[in-house]
Subunit: 245 residues, 2 copies
């Protein structure tokens, strides 16, 4: 028996998110089907980030246990033959039996992309959120700096989420603009439900002049979801990768 | 009566190319339908670049004549409401009645994109061509320089094309690499059928070590399609834009 770790990239457009669920096609389900078919054993992966419907990934992590004699490094190649084109395993390797993708300490990185121009551009349609009024990137940068560090992010968490603590640590936020695309790249110890999309939605309000950067401490202190901006749409969000410590 | 010029961006994945044809959905057809619906007159656009099935565009050009009272600048907004998400008009303006998108002198720019890494990446699947063996970009750059200038590009033209002359002028070719994407950007007075894709296919052979840069003059001189590399797949090609002189 060995435990195998996969790095999984996907275009989330056609999936109802990561997590297996009845009456919907999910990334986890496609992986389980392909692995079960490849290895001839019933496989159920454990995913690191259970991304929502429409969210993309360059490097989500999943593990599973198997008795196969296929070397772990070879699994990626054989698995990609059995997966649809919009899910591609980037790497497979053996890990310790006690490695767990959610419970081991890690730095997770997400990126939210905004296409900011007069008209949408088809080539960016699937993985950006289109905003046509001009956003002030400097104001968005200024606002983002208030979020770095350990904070209670209750104001940035969807209200139906049930978690013991809403304290999380953001290690870095980088807001940058290249041509017409504004990227918000966030690394942290972990994220609450919809937290990155609510941060993105709030920074878009800042870029639009509807929230001032100096209001960010109050929004955090309020611990009230109503004080932050809207949840930005799923298609702008990409899970970049996870570094285990 | 006025003549209106459109700048048209599209994701070519779901279209049988630009040009209207029976039993297939094309970009030209979608534009004609949307314009006819918007303006209440039968409209047939004239396109600058009749891109092939699967080829994308950031800035193809089309014109049409109309009696509408809608100001030319407003047409883009109303038209985008009637077009599918993968076709977006970027600009509309009035032009002289004798302006013709194909017969007026212009500099056309295309880009061919190659995703060069171990495994495909879903976010780039629709507008790159995936090559997994490592390409030598310096060799590709060296080879591309031989193509700049006026040349008889008969070796780089699909054999069923019927044109009077196969001489064309390439003003510039820039081969560059950013992360895993190699871009070949070519500007010229005009291009023969499949010319950019055959140049891309030939430069991929060079990057693979199967053709030497110094062989390029011979390939040009042969005036023989068999001497150049294969026609690279359509999905890697994007029509960037057209500058009228």
């Amino acid at each position: 028996m060995k435990r195998v770790k996969l790095i999984v990239a996907y275009d989330g457009t056609n999936y109802a998110g990561w997590q297996q669920q009845p009456n919907a096609v999910t990334v986890e389900q496609k992986l389980n089907e392909a692995l079960t078919d490849l290895l001839g054993e019933k496989i159920e992966v454990i995913g690191a980030s259970r991304t929502d419907a429409g969210v993309h990934s360059l490097g989500n992590v999943a593990v599973f246990d198997t008795d196969t004699r296929i070397p772990a490094e070879k699994i990626s190649y054989a698995l990609n033959q059995r997966l649809p084109d919009d899910i591609v395993v980037q790497d497979s390797c053996e890990v310790d039996a006690d490695f767990h993708p959610r419970y081991c300490d890690s730095i997770k990185t997400y990126e939210y992309r905004i296409l900011n121009r007069k008209f949408p551009m088809p080539e960016h349609q699937r993985n950006t959120y289109f905003v046509h009024h001009k956003l002030d990137v400097d104001q968005m940068k200024a606002a983002s700096s208030y979020l770095v560090g350990p904070h209670d992010f209750k104001s940035f968490c969807s209200i139906h989420a049930q978690v013991k603590s809403t304290v999380r640590t953001i290690y870095s936020i980088r807001v940058s603009k290249e041509e017409d695309i504004i990227s918000i790249r966030i690394s942290g110890s972990g994220f609450l439900y919809n937290m990155v999309r609510i941060i993105a939605g709030t920074l878009i309000m800042v870029g639009s002049g509807r929230i001032k950067p100096e209001q960010m401490p109050q929004i955090l202190a309020a611990k009230d979801r109503q004080k932050a901006g809207p949840t930005a749409p799923a298609q702008g969000l990409t899970m970049i990768g996870i570094e285990y410590l």
